[in-house]
Symmetry: C2
Subunit: 155 residues, 2 copies
């Protein structure tokens, strides 16, 4: 499928008040090349393997393929990953008819907080909550694959 996502920085942590889920995420990359990222993720009690292609020219759409895998497989595959695993807490917040995913990074990326929304088309309207800051969609510095090799603390 083609994934349409828009990504934003956040102004403060008031998003936490309205979060309906909160999950720990640990993830690493078997390939962090933007044209073919291969990600291993443990989210809460589930494992996932995700492959993404390069963005189209607008930076909004990206090919994505994902399969759930066992936690045990995910743990073994994480050991093979490139250095620079990502560690973060993901909050989900319902705003109007959409869901924002807000990632609060830990470790080498401590201090970075990013909100994402998934849309059905590039023009789809969505409500902007008060805590939403500047849009960074398409800025590859905010790709998790980039953060794994060039963490926020070194920016």
């Amino acid at each position: 499928m083609i994934e349409i996502e828009r990504k934003f920085l956040v102004k403060d942590d008031s998003y936490k008040e309205s979060a309906f889920t909160q999950n720990h995420i640990a993830q690493g990359y078997l390939s962090s090349a933007p044209a073919r990222t291969v990600r291993v993720r443990i989210k809460g009690k589930k494992g996932f393997l995700t492959i993404k292609g390069i963005s189209n020219t607008s930076g909004l759409s990206r090919f994505e393929w994902e399969k759930e895998i066992s936690i045990s497989d995910a743990e073994k595959l994480l050991l093979l990953c490139e250095k620079g695993a990502i560690d973060k807490t993901r909050f989900e917040i319902k705003v109007g008819s959409h869901i924002f995913e807000v990632d609060e990074f830990h470790g080498e990326n401590q201090g970075l907080v990013v909100a994402e929304i998934e849309l059905n088309s590039e023009e789809e309207f969505f409500e902007k909550p008060a805590w939403l800051d500047k849009e960074v969609t398409g800025d590859s510095r905010y790709y998790n694959s980039y953060l794994s090799t060039s963490p926020f603390r070194n920016w």
Copy 2:
């Protein structure tokens, strides 16, 4: 699982006489790094995603994770792969109580033929057929991931 494989060159094409299967294989790499190869394969009418780690010091054992995926997913993922897809015909030959897989390469690797046998332990005995030539186990030039970037014709 840990995969124990031994790899050999072959002397002539007499292995074809006793082959019980023959399948076309097309494969590409999302990562060709030896420490974390990620391979997309179409074998006959099935698709596979396979992840391998680095060899241990003997060069015989390699971590391997594999899942069957749909042909349609495999075709989409092949489009994301690094340049240098591998195209080959695989013959399976029963010798004693083991099965040899013999890969006859095409395209940029035309002229290369490699036989592989999978074993349960590094010391396991197996019968050597007359067409088996010199062992190349652990020689990374014969990894398909290496051949995809440095094809046999350029050696």
